[in-house]
Symmetry: C2
Subunit: 412 residues, 2 copies
């Protein structure tokens, strides 16, 4: 194996095989960077030193405070940037090495920002374990609707309230049902996270034209961790017949680094078999998922973080390609910068549940955090930490952390 001049710890999410894109700032304004180990490559500075001679027009895209324009230049461009940096990291005579003091900035010295202006955000419901367990809680007699195995069920979410990792979330207040029939206005007593992955759309599709399932992956730029904050008591009261609204639209968190589709390639694995077989517009062979380890930790105030979930993305019933084919089948157009989230990713075991609703059976039992601390739902000042990575032999590619803290409800 070639040796880079820049040492990266073997357990780093940001190995030389990853090189994800993000938006960072230091004393200078927010701009594009690539993560490597504990460092950020400043792409504007690298561009100024002519590190990317094949794309002289790309300077403007690097200077923007979101990645949409950079992504809009196409996967060929982003691959060129990654490959150029990768080569330079192996090359002791590279400009990147010579000017490392100028081009590399420590991650601990920068602020990360929203990597995208999210145009539209769609949330799928693609984990069978999750759909079934949640369905059991909300509708014991009818957990999985007959459409669930025929299509990747989804709903449109709220893009304006998608926030960067580290953005705290106030405990939402809203309407909940009561046995009396009249609703109450409360600060939610059932605040939850949802562990998801989100695909970043990398190019526009055409209004009125479905994207064929065999071409769908061409529309994906990369992937993020996604936390779909949810207020379960509000959700239960409001969700019929049009789906969740105020119980979900108050905030969603995303991880700061977009891991590219190409960097995730080593972790592709066959998706679970589908019976009944879906309609032709959803049929493709091979159907591939990603073997990515995912986890959730809860850190109570003044306490240590405890891992409450460890699961894997490889068991998702519906794949990204199927989600895109379904999303566009009636003619809906996708746009660069859209997010398509998987829905909560859960496994079978109680320690593999991607949200507290499932792990606690809607608060009927508690999750132990250790030292006598337990949770049914999130408490004020809890911090939720999501992580995810793929590992294949010595190749590790990860998302870093997605963090978000619960603040007490706003008074008055």
């Amino acid at each position: 194996m070639l040796q880079s001049w820049l040492p990266v710890p073997p357990d780093s999410d940001f190995s030389i095989y990853n090189l994800p894109f993000g938006i960072f700032s230091d004393e200078r304004p927010a701009r594009a960077g690539v993560a490597i180990g504990e460092w950020v490559v400043d792409l504007t500075a690298a561009y100024a030193l002519n590190l990317f001679p094949h794309y002289p027009e790309a300077g403007g895209a690097f200077r923007k405070p979101v990645l949409n324009d950079l992504i809009g230049l196409g996967r060929e461009f982003s691959e060129y940037v990654r490959k150029t940096i990768q080569d330079a990291l192996f090359d002791h005579d590279s400009v990147l090495h010579q000017y490392a003091g100028h081009l590399l900035i420590r991650q601990k010295d920068v602020q990360m920002h929203m990597p995208l202006k999210v145009g539209n955000y769609t949330d799928f419901y693609s984990s069978e374990e999750h759909a079934f367990s949640v369905g059991q809680i909300f509708r014991p007699d009818n957990p999985l609707f007959p459409n669930w195995k025929q299509m990747p069920v989804a709903y449109h979410g709220r893009a304006s309230s998608i926030v960067a990792s580290g953005t705290p979330v106030y405990r939402p207040q809203g309407q909940v049902g009561q046995a009396s029939g009249n609703p109450a206005f409360v600060a939610t007593r059932a605040l939850d996270y949802e562990l998801e992955l989100a695909f970043v759309i990398g190019k526009d599709s055409t209004f009125g034209r479905p994207v064929p399932v065999g071409e769908a992956e061409d529309y994906i730029f990369g992937m993020l961790l996604f936390n779909d904050w949810s207020a379960r008591d509000i959700q239960r009261w409001e969700y019929q017949p049009l789906g969740p609204f105020t119980s979900k639209n108050f905030a969603s968190g995303i991880s700061p680094w977009i891991v590219t589709w190409e960097a995730l390639h080593p972790f592709r694995v066959p998706a679970p078999a589908q019976l009944p077989r879906p309609l032709p517009y959803l049929s493709i062979e091979p159907r591939l998922n990603f073997d990515l380890s995912l986890s959730v930790g809860i850190k109570p105030e003044n306490g240590s973080e405890y891992e409450v979930c460890q699961t894997n993305a490889q068991h998702l019933y519906w794949t990204a390609a199927q989600q895109i084919a379904h999303h566009t089948i009636t003619g809906c157009n996708l746009q660069t910068g859209d997010l398509l989230a998987t829905g909560t990713i859960s496994g079978r075991g109680i320690s593999q549940k991607g949200c507290l609703l499932e792990a606690t059976l809607n608060g009927r039992q508690s999750v132990k955090l250790g030292d006598g601390v337990e949770r049914r739902f999130l408490e004020d000042n809890d911090e939720v930490v999501m992580r995810g990575f793929g590992q294949k032999e010595k190749i590790r590619v990860g998302f870093g952390e997605l963090r978000g803290k619960v603040l007490p409800a706003i008074q008055g």
Copy 2:
């Protein structure tokens, strides 16, 4: 009454009391304009002639191909522009009159465009008549869920596929349920329109902070006609449990001119009484709607247009202020350029139904178009035309037309 030097027919939607904003182009690129009678005032040209001396910084906003920046300058600014033009239309010595040949362009000589880059779009369900009739069709035993009279029920829609008036829509293809249990893939056999109004959000609210119902109207810039195209057979199969998705996201149409909140003021009327009384965050007195006449026409290919619906917006159960208060109650932030649509606006009578689903009882009876032509749902090459206006004594303020034609499904 003062007399303007520019004659406007008494039945024009674009009277001197209206002066709505839109985006038009001729041989020069798309830019902002104001409609008056059969004319467009070219705001960039008027700005260049110093018609708006109090806002020297506004030139950039007028030149943009969408109105978001202009709207972002605030209602005080747009009112200044409207008032300035209104005064100039009464003043025979005004610059507008002197240079009328340069500043006024005939509407028939321009192309109208999407007036907005829509950030997020939300569809409410605020007409009791509509919610009840649709509920009866989809759930005869349970037409109105218990939450409906407690909150303005809504879901997030798809912003990317909102298109300008005149944009044709391909008949969508997708999944429908069948008695066998297995779905079929078909071109929809139940294509429908939905007659709605949409409020244009005029300023950003703060992430995490609900907008009090008493301040909610400050966030509205103006109003549009909105056609929420729907495929009913696809909707029925997919909508549980997360709401409509591919049955609605393929297209929505909007009228080209945004009628400002101030121009609609003469048509404010009390909204229907609410029992049970809503929670305090939704309570406000007086609760006001708009007395606006609304209609839908269908024009078959090579035929005349027939009016199939005549209704009024004044009976909506939930008002704009209540919709905004509810939308933000858990902390969701609104952004300039968002659209909040009312949901289908229906009255009690069969000729007052804002969609064919209701007017035909889901295709069980037909709507007569005349000359032996009838419809259960839309047929290929039908054009749908929506209109709306308020009239109070001699003051008429309207939206103009929202048109959209159905094209046959795309083959292959």
